[in-house]
């Protein structure tokens, strides 16, 4: 509105100031400072704080757990993004049909996403419980398994359990975005291609998908970023175990810093994590720019 008057500029900065101070103190400074810490042997218990160059990074490169950590993180992010995305897309198409009770159902689905991660973790631990869990009871009855699976103790099955819980929590979020995008699909285009003889699949493929594609791309990237950050469910359900089978960067950095008290090593690991996240965010920003 106003461009040049000195008073306006002063007021503009005054309004931004509280946000800026909190942001600088609680986010930007800690972030930059963590990069410095990654070059030290800073420890939470011992008063060490010496510059040690790249030693933390070299140790991480030599650590046999580093490559599995990246691989586990990749698997978790990949499946925890794609599974809820797919369910969210299908569910959005169903809820978009506006049948009786669809509004109520949509609201009820979103409850999964809003409730605390700790409650979701507890719930799925109970469902996946090896001895008394409902899932084993159900699978036994259906004849899918003939003896109880100890889901959370198996290397493969614990990841399946965590991804399932994350899918349950997040697919309503993807649904909400996709439903928003479906509102914007031009009805005339659907009609026109139908007159040209297109069936449902063709309309979906040639009209609906292209017009909601920008939103689909955005939520895939945003979803991947949030999964790369995700801590709660894994911490509650498996704590990274068994034998690190579900240990992602979020879990590992937390453990290195606050269980082993090795801040320097945790920071180095965190910097690698930040670079991965930076890559995704760059794609996100580029996508945004193209859209505008």
């Amino acid at each position: 509105m106003k461009t040049n008057s000195k008073n306006s500029t002063l007021m503009a900065w005054l309004l931004v100031l509280p946000a800026l101070i909190i942001f600088l103190l609680m986010i930007l400074y800690p972030f930059v400072n963590s990069i410095f810490i990654s070059f030290t042997n800073k420890n939470l218990i011992f008063p060490k704080n010496d510059f040690i160059g790249f030693e933390n990074y070299v140790k991480l490169l030599k650590d046999p757990n580093t490559i599995p950590l990246i691989w586990t993180t990749f698997k978790f992010v990949f499946f925890s993004t794609l599974c809820p995305f797919t369910l969210g897309l299908i569910w959005a198409i169903l809820m978009n049909e506006k049948f009786k009770g669809s509004q109520f159902m949509r609201g009820l689905t979103l409850v999964n996403w809003i409730i605390p991660g700790i409650a979701i973790g507890f719930l799925w631990n109970w469902i996946f419980n090896g001895d008394y869990g409902i899932l084993n009871a159900l699978f036994n009855k259906l004849g899918i398994i003939d003896s109880n699976v100890i889901w959370l103790a198996g290397k493969q099955t614990s990841l399946i359990a965590v991804v399932t819980a994350r899918t349950w929590q997040m697919f309503p979020w993807y649904m909400a975005f996709i439903m928003g995008a479906l509102q914007g699909v031009p009805k005339e285009l659907c009609e026109a291609s139908r007159i040209d003889g297109a069936n449902n699949i063709k309309v979906f493929h040639h009209v609906i998908i292209p017009s909601i594609k920008p939103v689909l791309m955005l939520i895939l990237i945003l979803g991947a970023i949030s999964n790369l950050q995700h801590f709660d469910l894994i911490n509650v359900m498996t704590n990274g175990g068994p034998e690190r089978a579900t240990s992602t960067f979020a879990i590992e950095v937390y453990k290195k810093a606050f269980k082993e008290y090795n801040l320097g090593r945790a920071a180095a690991l965190g910097v690698i994590w930040a670079i991965l996240l930076g890559g995704f965010s760059w794609v996100y920003l580029r996508n945004l720019k193209e859209e505008n």
């Binding site: 931004v16 800690p30 700790i118 928003g180």
Partner: protein, 275 residues
């Protein structure tokens, strides 16, 4: 959008049953377990005997009540501060043009991708130095900081939709910058501010990582971190208690959400896409 062919009907009914079961059965299972009498804990029964004794047991636990109280206070204070601070910044970004504006906005957006665990590696010793570890102020500040980026960007998008002509008209009538902001523009953005208030409340209410790290005394724990400590070790087999606590922890956000769903979903999706 789709023709109701036989194939579409099959698709519709298959997935409404499959995904519906996946979405809703666990919700019901949580509630059903929380209402079981102790003797039924390991039996596969579904809403057979209603029994409130475990809900009452959890609600009578003075530690748990403390977690609830702390959780509420922290979430409400964080929400109020975050909404206020975001609204002021969002207003400035939307209605003023000044040097450095774009850069500040960009860095705030990018900070979303800073790993939260990495921030803690610095925050912990920093807050320790100023004596803020194990104080509510530390987690409140952290929650405000972590919800600021989304808050600022979403509210900026809201203010962008309010035409400048309204403000210019008021300006001609002799209203000051401050009056224009507080009396004319802010009230028009209440829906957006409600969205951010809920968003920050839910963030603080649900957070585990920061509460787990920055708070160490039982009496000061908030909901999620308190629940972890209650139900590890010996409490780890108290499934009815865990489900009862989970239901109690979920009710406030679920109710708030059901009432304000319209605001919230529209606000969040608009903010993230336009942002």
């Amino acid at each position: 959008m789709f023709q109701k062919t036989l194939a579409f009907k099959i698709f519709f009914w298959t997935f409404i049953i499959l995904i519906g079961f996946f979405a809703f059965f666990p919700q019901l299972w949580m509630i059903s377990t929380s209402l079981k009498p102790d003797a039924e804990m390991y039996k596969i029964t579904f809403f057979q005997n209603f029994n409130l004794s475990n809900i009452i047991r959890i609600l009578n636990n003075s530690d748990f009540l403390g977690y609830l109280r702390n959780g509420f206070s922290v979430a409400i204070i964080s929400s109020v501060i975050s909404t206020t601070v975001s609204a002021l910044a969002g207003y400035s970004f939307s209605k003023f043009r000044f040097k450095g504006r774009k850069q500040v906005m960009a860095i705030i957006l990018i900070s979303q991708a800073f790993p939260q665990g990495l921030l803690l590696v610095s925050l912990y010793p920093m807050l320790q130095q100023v004596g803020m570890i194990d104080k509510f102020s530390s987690i409140i500040l952290a929650y405000v900081a972590l919800t600021l980026p989304i808050g600022t960007w979403t509210l900026k998008a809201y203010f962008d939709q309010i035409p400048n002509s309204i403000m210019e008209a008021a300006c001609i009538d002799g209203a000051s910058d401050l009056t224009i902001m507080s009396k004319i523009v802010m009230p028009l953005a209440y829906p957006g501010m409600t969205t951010i208030a809920i968003y920050s409340f839910v963030w603080a209410w649900n957070d585990l990582l920061y509460a787990l790290t920055l708070i160490s005394t039982t009496a000061k724990r908030t909901l999620a971190s308190g629940m972890i400590f209650t139900f590890t070790g010996e409490g780890g087999n108290d499934w009815i208690g865990m489900m009862a606590a989970s239901v109690i922890a979920s009710i406030p956000v679920a109710i708030m959400f059901i009432f304000l769903q319209k605001f919230f979903v529209a606000g969040m999706t608009a903010g993230a896409v336009k942002g």
